[in-house]
Amino acid sequence: MSDIDTFEEEEFQTRFSGKVFRRIMGLLKPHWKTVVGFLITIAVVSALDSVFTYLTKQVFDLAIVPKDLGMLRRIAIQYGSLLVIQAAMVFLFIYMVALLGERIRYDLRQKMFNHLQDLSLSYYSRTPVGWIMSRVTSDSERVADLMTWGLLDSTWAVVNIITAMAFMFVINWQLALIVLGILPFLLWIAIEFRKRILKQFRDVRKYNSKITGSYNENITGVRVVKALGREKENLREFSGLTGEMYRAGYRAAWLSALFLPSVQMISAVAIGAVVWYTGAQNGLLGMTIGSVHAFVSYITFMMWPIQDLARVFAEIQHAIASAERIFSLVDAVPDVVDRPQAIDPGSIHGDIEFDHVYFSYEDEKPVLSDFTLKIRRGETIALVGPTGGGKSTIVNLMCRFYEPKKGVIRIGGQDYTGLSLHAIQSRIGMVLQTPYLFSGTIRDNIRYGRLNATNEEVEAAARLAGAEVFIKNLEKGYDEPVGEGGNLLSVGQKQLISLARAVLARPEIFIMDEATSSVDTLTEALIQKGMEKLMEGRTSFIIAHRLSTIKRADRILVIEDGSIAEIGTHSELLRQRGKYYKLYTKQFRHEMSQALNPFDVDEKSNGHKKAGDDLLPALGD
């Protein structure tokens, strides 16, 4: 919730676009029966409002002045039955329009969500999550509101104004002309007001999200604030911000407060004109008491339809801008899609070949150039090298999150673009550097790997991945909730769960991006074991950071500047005394100082198998 609040909405200055508007209205097509239904009911409700005023005129002219009780009874019965009819109509239109609104919201959200699932990773890398969230949440609301309540309110307003004008013309055409003359002016004033008010409220929202951001930073960074004694300065800055907020809020409030009185004032001028004109003419223009009452009522209550119309007009532009953004999302074309004749061969367990592959993200400088590599089935490949060298790109291409710009990737001798995406991706098990879990229980998260797995299979996978020990120690075991994004668990635990998830998926290709962040040594050892299990008999790509992992690989690739700088086994590369040698000794010293972490010593002194007993033999063999 607060995430959306803090996401500052960009300003947009789109002009009214007929094309977009037609497309929005096109969304109503499947629901045209409901639309017609609520338009008719609202028109009836609106017209009845004018009829009621006319009926009260009749009370004066036909019952009170001629002192006719019978007529009063007749009018009262008419009035009463119309009230009941109107109430029934009100029920119908609220129900229809609200239901339609919910339905359209539902449709828009689902449509966007479904489309998002099909979009390629490249879309996500250039679109912030907050932006997408706003489209699915607030923009869909705004568009649905325009299509339902906006349409309803404007229909009500137009019908109301027209019927009221009609009755006025019937009663007295000269006076009706006066009112008609004032009407456009009234509408114009109202719309101008609304636009300004809307703008003020946007400012208020903008400052509001800034204030939220300030609170957030000052609370999360409170240690720094205190340590550096920034309290006074921070308050001064914040007070400046709340000052802006105060002015925006105050202005929005008094503009709103000025709106109705201004409209009322113009109405009063109209009433005054009617009174004066009537009274100044001989024979009072044939006006009766009832007619005067009707005119005063019509003019007084005209304020409401005018206000509604103004609101819809002011908001229509923003709603259209919202719709445009929604359409831009829905129209985004996935970069990677199944080819027309894509097949699922039933297995992708074969040799893999990168054949002169070129790749770049978004027309930037090439990340991979002329990359060629043959991997035998079952082989374990360790990718090492500096950040930005292209390791992740190789993995992304392997998963077909992206496709080569030039060159071919073959699986079992076949160009992998001839296979369906599902055929490839459902047979790859992946563990990310920053493991991601979904809220739910641990069991749910492991089962994500294979949805129809039994509880026994889930637990077997956890055991194999080395995750069981810590799961069993949790209060609810496998049914322990992991929190949003898995945040209730430590990074190491999340990684164990995602390993178990990959184990359960029984992948044919295993891909792992090792975590760089420190994980306590016990968990680290468990993760290592889990990985080993997963790599058995599978073609594996490991973006490796730990020596033990690197050494275990069949081949090590040092990737630098988008190409293979060195390739070979651990001993071969060490002998070369090149880049790998440097990297290795550096990393060795790093892990050494990690091993020097007193924590390990503590563990050891408590009789645990630790650094000295565990890590070193592993390095030695």
Partner: protein
């Protein structure tokens, strides 16, 4: 519209068990303005009533049987406009005054909360979720704003409208007036009940909205997982389920709305009918004039229809009070006094002596005990120990983030707990393992907390000494580049070096360092170490040590375990202790070095 200073009021005085009294106190300094807003509303209601009275006068005068016209029609016409002007003017005035009150109270509250929170103790902060605090400072504060801006004044408006119009009705005709309100209690009761129910259903709807947002957010953040397991269809179905649930809840909410509005329309309509028929009959019988009936028809609308909003306001008034209660929870916490205690004209020298110090977060559960050692000015103390051994707790005592619970700490011979926190913290610089940077420009982050104007040259000198200048120059806007989501994302090492530059500019006498680095890149490690060396020069330094170098160079090494110092000395003296923990650490190191050589030799040349 001027930025006038807010009325001064210590909001801690507003805290009261009874939220109504609390809200009343919160209005201190704004009560007259708010009273003015209410009075203006009253005048505006009177003018409205006046309009109907004038209408009665006009109709009876010009259309009445006696035809006794007293005033020329032009005056009556102007009267209408004048009354409308009065009504509109005062409505506007009331809105303005109410806005000034509500926005003013809110601004004062926001500022107070902001300042209050940054003055609260770490004990409070560590026990409180950030999201929860923010929620209270934003949503709850806004609920309080609405209380003053809409609900309290809205209630006032309805009550005033009722009083003024009902009095007018009573003056017109007592019997008719009484008949006009027979159904009012029903309208109020029904609206209260319905709005209670509606707000409950609305909450459920909002809850589902939050659920849906979470699912979406997780799906977007975890998009790689979704794709890696080809779970698109599963995700679509999952979203569809909760999307449908929201639809269904929305449907329920709308159904009750669809029932309430026409239902209350009917009750209000019935009440109007009763009044109309009664009035018309009286007019026919000649008990009241047609003009009176006309005025009556106008007035009754302003009594009946506002009443059904009363339910909404009553329900919302209670949410305002609940919000106020949640905000007072924060306000009533006591601040950490920054300036209480001794200060000195010159900077401290940095001699520190711990004597049998004990510290506990909770009673009888000490995390530090029997801590005794002495550091001379400019010396380096290295703290060694496992997570939870008490290293961080120990250094947290120095800037008085927490106060020790027993024993004594002396800084330059002065008891630490007697020194003012602000002064003390000015003397201490802290560089954390993963320092927190603010989403401001790099320059602002470096000068953050220096508390004086700093020239660009000075900033750059500090950045150079911290070995981060070159990195900053590669950023698109150099020192003006924003840190964080809207700008550049810095690596752990880079953040640490910015923090070092910050500490260099602050030029403290005492330094607390966490020298570990999460970065694997050993080249930056060397740079950081060099930067740290520059920083430590001539300052008393406490290092939470993860590296051999910092331990070997230390004047004093404290090996900690279970909140106690188990070994104390320099590298040399500690190495001489045969079975000490410290020595074991170094034995492992040499073993690793041997292993590395063996390893490389093993693969041949």
């Amino acid at each position: 519209m001027s930025d006038r200073t807010l009325p001064d009021y210590d909001l801690q005085k507003a805290v009261h068990k009874n939220n109504v009294i609390g809200l009343w106190r919160l209005m201190t300094g704004f009560r007259l303005t708010y009273l003015g807003a209410t009075l203006a509303l009253g005048i505006s209601a009177l003018s409205k009533t006046g309009t109907y009275m004038l209408l009665r006068y006009f109709v009876d005068g010009y259309f009445g049987s006696d035809g006794a016209t007293s005033l020329p029609v032009i005056y009556i016409a102007l009267g209408f406009i004048g009354l409308a002007g009065l009504e509109g003017g005062f409505t506007f005035l009331s809105g303005r005054l109410a806005a000034r009150t509500s926005e003013g109270i809110t601004r004062r509250l926001r500022n107070y909360l902001f300042d209050h929170i940054q003055h609260l103790t770490f004990t409070y902060h560590s026990g409180m979720q950030t999201g929860e605090l923010i929620q209270r400072c934003t949503s709850d504060v806004d609920a309080i704003r609405r209380f003053f801006a809409e609900q309290a004044i809205g209630m006032g408006r309805i009550i005033l409208l009722f009083i003024v119009n009902f009095t007018a009705l009573m003056l017109l005709n007592v019997r008719l007036a009484l008949f006009s309100i027979v159904l009012i209690p029903i309208i109020v009761v029904v609206s209260v009940i319905m709005f209670k129910k509606m707000s409950k259903i609305y909450e459920q709807y909002q809850e589902q909205d939050a659920v849906l947002s979470t699912i979406l957010q997780e799906n977007l953040s975890g998009v790689r997982v979704v794709k890696a397991f080809a779970r698109q269809e599963y995700e679509k179905n999952k979203f569809e389920r909760d999307n449908m649930e929201k639809y269904l809840r929305g449907k329920r909410l709308m159904f009750i709305n669809a029932l309430f509005w026409p239902g209350s329309d009917l009750i209000c309509g019935a009440q109007m009918m009763i009044g109309y028929v009664m009035g018309a009959m009286m007019a026919i019988r000649g008990e009241i004039t047609p003009g009176t009936f006309l005025a009556y028809m106008g007035l009754i609308v302003w009594i009946i229809f506002p009443m059904r909003n009363l339910g909404r306001l009553i329900v919302h008034l209670s949410t305002g009070q609940v919000s106020f209660g949640r905000v007072t929870e924060i306000i009533k916490q006591t601040r950490e006094p920054l300036d209480q205690g001794r200060t000195f004209d010159q900077p401290v020298r940095g001699e520190i002596r711990f004597e049998n110090v004990e510290f506990a977060y909770e009673k009888d559960c000490p995390v530090l005990s029997e801590i005794s050692f002495t550091v001379k000015p400019g010396q380096v103390v290295a703290l060694l120990g496992s997570t939870g051994s008490g290293k961080t707790s120990l250094v947290n005592l120095l800037p008085r983030f927490y106060d020790y619970t027993a024993g004594r700490v002396y800084l330059d011979g002065v008891e630490l707990n007697s020194i003012a926190r602000r002064y003390l913290r000015q003397q201490i610089g802290i560089v954390e393992q993963e320092p927190f940077l603010f989403s401001r420009s790099i320059r602002e982050n470096i000068t953050y907390g220096v508390g004086r104007e700093v020239s660009q040259a000075e900033v750059e000198t500090a950045a150079r000494a911290a070995a981060v200048h070159d990195v900053i120059c590669t950023f698109p806007e150099g020192y003006k580049t924003l840190v964080g989501e809207r700008g550049v994302t810095l690596s752990g090492g880079q953040k640490q070096r910015v923090a070092i530059a910050r500490a260099l500019l602050k030029n403290p006498r005492i330094l607390i360092l966490d020298d570990s680095t999460s970065s694997v890149d050993t080249e930056t490690e060397a740079e950081i170490r060099e930067a740290l060396q520059t920083l430590m020069r001539e300052r008393t330094t406490f290092i939470i040590a993860h590296r051999i170098q910092s331990i070997m160079d230390a004047d004093l090494v404290l090996v900690m375990d279970g909140g106690k110092i188990v070994q104390k000395g320099t590298h040399e003296t500690l190495m001489r202790e045969e079975n000490g923990m410290y020595r074991k650490i170094f034995e492992i190191q040499t073993r690793i070095e041997d292993e590395l050589e063996k390893e490389i030799a093993g693969v041949g040349h």
